[in-house]
């Protein structure tokens, strides 16, 4: 299984039946493919509708129904549309059980940086700052290290923050971690990954519980 699928599959098992969830662009979007059949979540798209469905059959695209990344999607039965103020009222008002986002950096205090690299890449925050501020649970889904092999989980973020002390869970291809008041707790390790390996690729000291679970896919 490729790393990104492993991450998406683990995130997909976090949700409870009835949860309203917003998935960020990229890897987080793929989480929707792996939600267990018995768990019915309501996917919220910040550009203005609920119950995001799968991509339509080729030729069946509706130009007015795309996700926040501009990709053609569908609206499932029971979905509805709203303006951007209502969409962000849902986000900011605590009506989302969870949001899943990628990260450039996340640190042991739960700080998140994912919207700009000064002098290099400034795409803008889009809806990310609102999602981080408003969702009841902030889940980071990302590959554990950068393309250069540098840790993305650090003691203290260097990059400009998207939100301060808001991250709850971090899922990478190596493990499943929880941000606690004391630091980052390693709850599960992916099969074949050792504590030494994940720690060596992490910029913050991981807290090790008595029992570390297996991060099944």
């Amino acid at each position: 299984m490729n790393p990104r699928e492993r991450i998406a599959r683990r995130v997909a098992r976090i949700f409870k039946d009835g949860d309203v969830v917003n998935l960020g662009i990229g890897l987080p979007t793929s989480v929707a493919n792996y939600v267990p059949d018995e768990v019915h979540i309501v996917l919220h798209s910040e550009n203005g509708f609920t119950r995001v469905g799968p991509a339509p059959e080729p030729g069946q695209e509706d130009p007015d129904i795309v996700d926040a990344g501009g990709m053609p999607v569908t609206i499932l039965p029971g979905g509805c549309c709203f303006d951007s103020a209502t969409s962000f009222a849902i986000i900011r008002g605590g009506h989302l059980a969870a949001t899943v986002l990628g990260a450039l950096e996340v640190d042991q205090e739960g700080n998140l940086a994912n919207w700009m690299i000064p002098g290099k890449l400034v795409p803008g925050m889009g809806g990310a700052m609102d999602l981080v501020a408003g969702a009841r649970k902030v889940i980071i889904a990302m590959e554990h290290v950068t393309k250069n092999g540098d840790p993305k989980i650090v003691e203290k973020c260097d990059l400009p923050l998207t939100g301060a002390r808001k991250v709850n869970l971090i899922v990478t291809e190596l493990g499943f971690m929880e941000v606690t008041p004391d630091g980052i707790l390693l709850r599960e390790l992916a099969p074949g990954v050792t504590v030494e390996e994940i720690q060596s690729k992490t910029g913050a000291t991981l807290i090790l519980p008595d029992q570390i679970g297996v991060m099944t896919a």
Binding site: L76, C80, C81, T86, A89
Partner: protein
């Protein structure tokens, strides 16, 4: 997820002493079945958040007439003589809020805001004990958000997942209150299956709604 329950189930979720927002303007858009069920119940000591206190024998006013309410936050009590009487007798606390500020305070809670600045009430008793801020020579009162334990909402149509449609002037405070309470209970004239409402027709997204009861027809309640 089917959110439709019986009136008894819905009622069992409302507790003594809770704060309850109820939609409606005078009697239009009031979930009268839910109101009447509370009137007939043991529930009391409520803090009511309503646009107005309607009439002593109709609308939310019945709750005041039958002593279910210790405090009411509202914009107008003039149509219900019993509210004024109980207020002057010290039997009920009344907090008056300008109608637009009341609507916006409720929306503000539902939208996760910490409040808003409004010109309404500047230079009047409404600004007492509130922060006044000035920008470009214009003064604004800082109003804080207002939520509740329970919201009772009247919809024209609901689907089983909680998407709501209102009708004409019966919309009023209902969509706002549906955003701002811990538990949102809807009384609907008509309940349809999820998927039967057009996505563009829905006025309150299902994500705000917890429970739905069907409005009883006069026949059924007899």
């Amino acid at each position: 997820m089917n959110k439709v329950v019986t009136m008894a189930e819905a009622l069992s979720r409302i507790k003594n002493g809770q704060s309850v927002m109820i939609g409606g303007f005078l009697t239009v858009g009031t979930p009268q079945g839910l109101v009447d069920a509370i009137v007939d119940s043991e529930i009391g000591e409520l803090t009511l958040i309503v646009n107005d206190t309607a009439f002593a024998d109709r609308g939310v006013g019945k709750l005041i007439a039958c002593d279910k309410v210790k405090k009411v936050i509202t914009s107008h009590i003039g149509t219900n003589k019993i509210t004024g009487k109980k207020m002057h007798a010290g039997e009920i606390e009344v907090e008056l809020v300008p109608q637009g500020s009341l609507a916006e305070k409720i929306r503000s809670e539902g939208a996760g805001l910490g409040g808003f600045l409004t010109p309404t009430g500047v230079g009047t008793a409404v600004e007492e004990n509130k922060q006044v801020m000035e920008f470009d020579g214009k003064k604004y009162i800082l109003e804080r958000p207002m939520g509740a334990d329970i919201a009772l909402i009247k919809a024209h149509k609901a689907d089983t997942s909680g998407n709501l449609v209102y009708r004409r002037a019966a919309r009023n405070f209902n969509p706002l209150m549906a955003m701002a309470a811990d538990l949102v209970i809807v009384e609907a004239d008509e309940i349809v299956e999820a998927g039967e409402l057009d996505p563009d027709e829905v006025m309150t997204p299902c994500v705000f709604v917890d429970l739905i009861v069907r409005k009883e027809s006069p026949n059924e309640s007899a």
